[in-house]
């Protein structure tokens, strides 16, 4: 009998758990440790943030699903990994701290044979003074944050209905943020919603971002074929902003968020302030801060984790200049090189370097997007890792054979730009590969036959369909495997 322990019941951890359970006989145990009792379809938090959906529509209780599937569920937070065991415990184990109301604060050691770290990001609001819902700005990263943001939006709309002008500021709250796509969706949905509520003329909307240019999205942007030209996503994105009357500030690191104003610095050294009445600014991400110890209790956190707290896997972490980056730097099995029974998937693995070119301001402040790991690649890598571990447990393979490098994987991304069945729109993007490979595709780094983008109502229908399809799949309802990651 083998025991697979999965840390994190989010998009990638839950996917890994469902696949592993379906592949492994019941003599083997699949255990999920996750602090929240609910599963959240995070992409739809955008719609919670504008009041179109409520929390219940984007979440469900994990407990009954795990019971139905025969997955052991422990509501707790992983604190430290002990890959060699300890003086008193010869098995590798993870120390967890319980978070359920009945056991809160209790600690436990959970042994494992194989471990998947799928703990996602820590939302590092503290990186910028005054950033975040506990201080002076709002967020849509969790369904709780999104609910609060929606209430603030209602208040801003009420003021606009009384004739007051409102300054709306949306974007990234630090020079090293990722997930620009999510902020972009919130920006466009807010603009659409303000039009719908008849107050658009009272709102001045500004986008602030650490991207070099609009349309970068943390992947260096993308080129697509359109109208006889190969055109960069910057052109299309600037067009979408202009059409909607949205002003933009790029190459910006937000250094402080005060009650109704931010201070920022740009790559060229410009320092500025921007006033706001309503600000939704994403935080930068780091790993969740787990520690690691060897058998003698010595701290080996730096062997398991990179400095940013994400887990070291089979990537090439040698520091290189942008010109020397290669698609081969990116991991393909997500196995830790030191402890071969440990894997990390989704946002939890440490990327070898960014995708967009790193930049520093004249003062030396890093201002560039860190690499996004969106839902589709997170799900695909989780499935591949679950299959590899199942093969090893069953003795079919001695090492992971299936591969899922982001440099060989495509992504489809539907970014909502306004939710309505008849006049809503969304930007539908496909790109292959996610990591530009200038060796295989010397012109643009990507295969132009598989890289595309367009805006329209069809995108909104797909986004809505995906909301229901992914929640259906995550509930492990009949034929859940038919829905691709």
């Amino acid at each position: 009998m083998a025991k697979l322990l999965i840390l994190g019941g989010g998009i990638s951890g839950h996917t890994a758990a469902l696949h592993a359970r379906s592949l492994l006989g019941h003599q083997h145990e699949v255990v999920v440790v996750t602090p929240n009792s609910k599963w959240n379809w995070i992409p739809s938090n955008i719609w919670v943030g504008i009041g179109l959906m409520n929390q219940e529509q984007v979440t469900f209780d994990l407990g009954p699903v795990y019971k139905k599937k025969g997955i052991t569920y422990i509501q707790a937070k992983a604190v430290s990994i002990h890959p060699e065991g300890s003086q008193d415990n010869s098995s590798p184990f993870v120390s967890v701290s319980h978070t359920s109301p009945t056991k809160i604060g209790e600690n436990e050691e959970i042994n494992y044979d194989y471990l998947i770290n799928a703990t996602g990001p820590k939302l590092k609001f503290e990186a910028t003074k005054g950033l975040g819902p506990e201080h002076n700005s709002l967020s849509v990263c969790t369904y709780g944050h999104a609910t609060e943001t929606s209430a603030h939006l209602d208040e801003a709309v009420a003021r606009m209905k009384k004739g007051e002008k409102q300054k709306i500021l949306i974007g990234t709250g630090h020079g090293t943020c990722t997930c620009q796509g999510a902020a972009f969706e919130y920006l466009f949905n807010t603009e659409f919603e303000l039009r719908k509520r008849g107050v658009r003329d009272k709102a001045e909307i500004t986008w602030i971002s650490n991207e070099q240019e609009l349309g970068d999205f943390g992947v260096g942007g993308m080129h697509i074929k359109r109208g006889g030209y190969i055109t960069h996503s910057r052109i299309f994105t600037e067009s979408l902003f202009t059409e909607r009357g949205i002003k933009w500030i790029t190459q910006a690191h937000v250094s402080e968020v005060e009650k109704n104003q931010i201070s920022y610095e740009q790559i060229n050294g410009t320092e500025g302030n921007e006033a706001f009445d309503f600000a939704m600014l994403l935080p930068p991400f780091s790993g969740v801060g787990m520690k690691a110890f060897n058998k003698t209790g010595e701290d080996i956190t730096s062997i398991l984790f990179a400095a940013n707290g994400f887990m070291i896997v089979d990537a090439d972490y040698t520091p290189k200049n942008y010109e020397d980056w290669s698609a081969e730097d990116w991991p393909s099995t997500y196995q830790n090189p030191t402890y071969k029974n440990i894997f990390a998937v989704g946002i939890a693995f440490a990327p070898p370097h960014p995708i967009s070119q790193p930049k520093k301001s004249v003062k030396g402040t890093p201002i560039f997007p860190t690499p996004p790991r969106t839902g589709m690649p997170s799900g695909v890598m989780a499935r591949i890792v679950a299959y590899n571990i199942a093969d090893m447990i069953k003795g079919k393979e001695s090492e992971p054979k299936r591969k899922a490098s982001m440099a060989k994987m495509g992504a489809a991304c539907i970014a909502s730009a306004g939710a309505n069945f008849f006049n809503g729109t969304a930007v539908s993007l496909t790109m292959y590969p996610i990591i530009p490979d200038f060796h295989r595709f010397p012109e643009t780094g990507r295969d132009l036959n598989y890289t595309s983008g367009e805006i329209g109502l069809a995108g909104h229908w797909i986004k809505h369909l995906l909301h229901h399809a992914f929640i259906y799949k995550a509930k492990a309802n009949p034929f859940w495997k038919v829905v691709p990651e």
């Binding site: 658009r200 052109i235 002003k247 899922a404 495509g410 489809a412 006049n423 539908s428 691709p484």
Partner: protein
């Protein structure tokens, strides 16, 4: 919303869609076709892995 009168400001340069382009974005028949096409594109992407 858009005005091209503000010369040399950031909104002066980007392309903006014509009325026809905008209409096609929400035209039910055209968008149904695009729905099928985008789904095929996404499935090709999924199958490529």
């Amino acid at each position: 919303m858009t005005t091209l009168r503000k010369a040399y400001e950031q909104s002066y340069y980007p392309p903006i869609p014509t009325k026809l382009t905008k209409r096609f974005r929400t035209n039910l028949i055209w968008q149904f076709i695009r729905f099928v096409v985008i789904n095929i594109k996404m499935l090709r992407m999924v199958r490529k892995h």
